[in-house]
Point group: C2
DNA sequence: TCAAATACGGATAAATTTATCCGTATTGCT
DNA sequence: AGCAATACGGATAAATTTATCCGTATTTGA
């Protein structure tokens, strides 16, 4: 396993949440488990862009952080089911709100994301004036 | 600037939000601007762990994504102020809720984070039973 | 004249995360 | 016998992000 070389900042609540939720797929994984997709193979089908390897790694971290639990059924072929812990469930309203905000603003988000992903270095298309405030002294 | 080599998934609202908010310091930056710390030097003092270079880079992305605007005052020494756009402001309730959740659960979060950061490979300390469900067939 | 404050960004290094490749195991179906 | 499905993880590569180092500029104050 990889060993961190920089110390994380854990000053405020925002820092702490970042530590457990930072991960390309984690929020989506939590959401899909909440929706009832409990098995690794199901989750992988819901999120085709993640590889099984990475899915396993991120699941392990969510488990370590007590947001999900893992049940291994001693059957063959193997069967595994994840579920949200009570703690993990308390995150669902937040994730829901975030997803909702994203859905509501999806056109705009898609536009600003694509504008700086694709090759659109088209200048002179900025509809906003550059700020031209009155010069002033530093106030302190 | 770095050019992406993998295509992002932009399927749902959650994906879209991830694209604009994913960044080690972005949420905290937005929060501090909301609190009235508008100048780069102030922000840097509020978040000492980020370097000015990286702060600038992440600010630029927030600007590109229309969450903040930048005002350059033509004075010397140079003065810059950021502020949230109306769009960016709509994120504040979410960020506030996330921070609140983190604050409310800070003891637990700190514990689970540190447990897997420090050298505490102390086995036989798991208070939970390993799941031992009844063996069963695959249901599909 | 020199240091400190203000601000920006190129080049490059380091850290971290994510992806790829492969090997292990068992059952059931064709 | 061969292939698909189920699941896991080591080793390594690639991608991405974050950090470091340095150079640019100007004013004020010691």
């Amino acid at each position: 396993m990889y060993e961190k070389k920089t110390i994380p900042s854990l000053n405020c609540g925002l820092d702490l949440v970042g530590e457990v939720l930072y991960g390309k797929w984690k929020i989506r994984i939590l959401w899909f488990i909440h929706e009832g997709h409990l098995r690794p193979s199901e989750l992988q089908r819901k999120i085709p862009d993640v590889t099984r390897r990475v899915l396993n790694v991120q699941m392990k971290e969510l488990e370590d952080h007590e947001l999900v639990t893992k049940k291994i059924f001693p059957v063959l072929p193997p069967k595994v089911e994840y579920s949200l812990t009570d703690f993990g469930k308390t995150l669902i309203p937040l994730i829901s709100a975030i997803g909702l905000w994203g859905d509501e603003n999806q056109d705009r988000l898609r536009r600003v994301i694509l504008k700086h992903t694709q090759a659109s270095s088209n200048e002179t298309e900025n509809p906003y004036d550059e700020a031209l405030p009155v010069p002033q002294e530093l106030s302190h």
